[in-house]
């Protein structure tokens, strides 16, 4: 099993892990020849939120080499917290606070004291012109191909509506206010550019409405004829999600440029967070937030 790559774009990698780390302290990363998959699928997550992301190797790494017996795929589980700390030390040092400037970051698979590690070697230059080498190791657990095969993305029906969300930063401000008021957040959208975020409790009902959002008609127009029942573009489809898990998804505002939300009425919500331009996306983080059914 061989694996070695240099991180060309530590800032992007850092931001992606930043969004992941808020969600789950441990994550699974699957490296293949051209895509890196980052997966958070723990059952214990707040409100059952899951992330299945795909990042193009080219957008983060260069001189990427991978070899394994399992069709050149390596899957490992590691602490996202530690990974974030390492990337922070590697990515941030262009700022004045750091003693050196990063020139190269090499990431490779190694074995130290019988423990598999992902080793990061950072080489840089101090202000005085001296060379510095910093090395971090993060313990990993290489997953068996059989276990990897058991990893399954959640099954979802064809979404009722696809809508491009307003800037996540703005949504985050709003949800931050709503979070202490209610545990559940209703997300509603229609095929005519309207989006609602609302809460309702005994004390207060708050509803924020956006008009003129864009709908993406990915599959509906091309593949099948629209169902006459769901034909009305003004019909709102809604799903009730845990406010806290939605807020956790919004932590991905650090990395997002465009986000598409899909609603499967009363079932779940799928959010595609694009890293980089939509046309030339370096990757996409897919968040699955299950719908909540309130018993009454």
């Amino acid at each position: 099993m061989r694996f070695r790559a240099s991180i060309e774009n530590p800032q992007t990698f850092f931001r992606i892990i930043q969004a992941i780390e808020k969600l789950q302290k441990k994550c699974i990363i699957k490296f293949t020849e051209d895509v890196m998959y980052i997966i958070c699928n723990s059952e214990a997550n707040e409100g059952g939120i899951q992330v299945w992301s795909q990042i193009k190797i080219d957008s983060v790494f260069t001189s990427y080499r991978i070899q394994s017996n399992a069709a050149n795929v390596i899957t490992l589980a590691l602490s996202s917290e530690t990974l974030l700390a390492i990337l922070r030390s590697a990515a941030v040092p262009s700022k004045s606070t750091s003693a050196y400037e990063t020139e190269e970051i090499v990431m490779k698979l190694a074995k130290k004291n019988d423990q598999a590690v992902l080793s990061f070697e950072i080489s840089g230059m101090t202000r005085q012109g001296r060379r510095v080498h910093v090395s971090h190791d993060v313990k990993i657990e290489v997953m068996k191909p059989a276990d990897v095969a058991n990893l399954k993305e959640p099954m979802c029906p064809e979404p009722d509506v696809h809508i491009i969300l307003p800037p996540l930063q703005k949504l985050r401000t709003i949800v931050e206010r709503l979070r202490p008021m209610s545990d559940f957040l209703a997300v509603r959208a229609n095929n005519n550019g309207r989006l609602h975020l609302s809460i309702q409790t005994d004390g207060v009902a708050v509803d924020t409405e956006w008009k003129n959002c864009k709908n993406t008609t990915r599959a509906a127009g091309a593949s099948q004829e629209p169902d006459p029942e769901t034909n009305d573009p003004d019909q709102l489809f809604s799903v009730l999600v845990s406010t806290r898990s939605f807020f956790k998804f919004l932590n991905s505002h650090v990395v997002s440029t465009t986000t598409i939300a899909c609603i499967c009425q009363n079932h779940c919500m799928i959010l595609y967070v694009y890293v980089g331009d939509l046309a030339d996306a370096g990757g996409v983080l897919t968040f699955y937030i299950p719908g909540q059914i309130l018993g009454d």
């Binding site: 703005k170 709003i174 206010r177 509803d207």
Partner: protein
């Protein structure tokens, strides 16, 4: 829907809700507040521990639109034809309800734009003191230097509300159909952006603590710049429990009329603030200087103590205020009034719509302490 039979009790709108939100935040230390709506504006009351009563007076002038219709129909008729003279009867017919103040403030800040930025900016504008004054700010009172400066500062802040970095304010439209209905807020950042509708449940108003302050029984009355009081209160260590205001009558007003600096060291200080706790005590004195104490009336030596925790409740209001009036009556009831400078409107004279916040606090019983 209700328009056909009866107009809503209240309809109000404002293009920038920051000032409204600042006033509400000044009394936001207890969640449940009683709101009374009158022809002239809002009165928001909160109380704590049957000892502290805070009231925010928000005048209708700060709104761009403000329509109040009394709950009962006969009263509306009386209104439309009646004059302003019938003040007492009007007050009884006001609409009152209780509301969760915290939620209201959170709702106003839904876009994160109702933040309290006025205090943060204050420091930056102090340097404008000298050259910032415009002609209409010239005060007739020639030795009232401090007040003039203060006005100017609030002008700078007022301008900032219009041209400030955060750009256009967040607009709000509020309506209250009447008793038993929720208070509805419509909040919008700009015409292209999202709109938020909030419906806050209103509860039946319950009678709250009454602490009437009778002007005739005032024994100490001071008007000073809020920053002087703020600086003093911020010095107090968090471990202190008791705060004492000590006032002494001015030595002889006739002698003291014009001269201040030479005599200052020889006479007893007019106002002293003492804070004491388990770990020691702090004492602060205010000199008898018009720069510091804009006005000072004291007929007999006064000494009353209050809980620091209660006095600290005033800090938020104190911070955004420009001027403070401190009064104590002969039984030690403390009244602190904070003038909250409103953003100026081009078509309205300065100060006409300035709201204020009043705190009334009962003294600690000295024997028990």
């Amino acid at each position: 829907m209700s328009d056909s039979q009866q107009p809503p009790v209240l309809k109000a709108s404002v293009h920038d809700l920051r000032y409204f939100s600042t006033l509400l935040r000044g009394v936001n230390f207890v969640n449940r507040a009683t709101v009374t709506i009158t022809q002239t504006g809002f009165v928001v009351v909160v109380e704590e521990a049957r000892t502290l009563l805070a009231t925010a007076y928000i005048f209708s002038e700060i709104f761009d639109e403000y329509t109040y219709n009394s709950d009962s129909t006969e009263q509306t008729v009386a209104h439309s034809q009646g004059s302003d003279g019938d003040e007492s009867q009007k007050l009884e017919e006001n609409a009152a309800f209780e509301i969760s103040l915290n939620t209201l403030i959170e709702c106003l800040n839904i876009f994160g734009t109702a933040g309290n930025n006025s205090t943060a900016k204050q420091g930056r504008f102090t340097q404008w003191k000298q050259d910032g004054g415009s002609d209409d700010e010239v005060d007739a009172d020639e030795d009232d230097n401090a007040r003039g400066k203060d006005r100017r500062r609030s002008t700078a802040k007022g301008i900032d509300q219009y041209f400030g970095g955060s750009g256009k304010g967040t607009g709000m439209r509020m309506s209250y159909p009447g008793s038993g209905y929720p208070l509805t807020l419509l909040i919008m950042e700009d015409s292209a952006g999202p709109t938020t509708t909030c419906e806050l449940t209103t509860y039946e108003a319950e009678p709250h603590l009454e602490l009437p302050f009778v002007a005739e029984r005032t024994v100490l009355k001071i008007i000073l710049k809020s920053s002087w009081l703020r600086d003093a209160l911020s010095e107090i260590d968090s471990s202190c429990e008791k705060l004492t205001f000590i006032g002494n009558p001015p030595p002889d007003t006739a002698v003291n009329g014009r001269q201040r600096a030479p005599l200052r060291t020889s006479i007893a200080p007019l106002l002293r603030i003492q804070a004491s706790g388990t770990f020691g005590s702090t004492e602060m004195e205010y000199p008898n200087d018009r720069e510091v104490l804009e006005s000072f009336e004291c007929i007999q030596p006064v000494r009353f103590s209050y809980r620091v925790a209660h006095i600290n409740r005033t800090l938020r209001a104190l911070q955004s205020s420009s001027k403070t009036s401190l009064r104590i009556d002969d039984e030690g009831l403390l009244s602190l009034q904070f003038l909250m400078p409103a953003p100026r409107k081009p078509n309205k004279p300065d100060g006409s719509s300035d709201g204020f916040i009043e705190f009334r606090c009962l003294p600690l019983d000295d024997e028990v302490h």
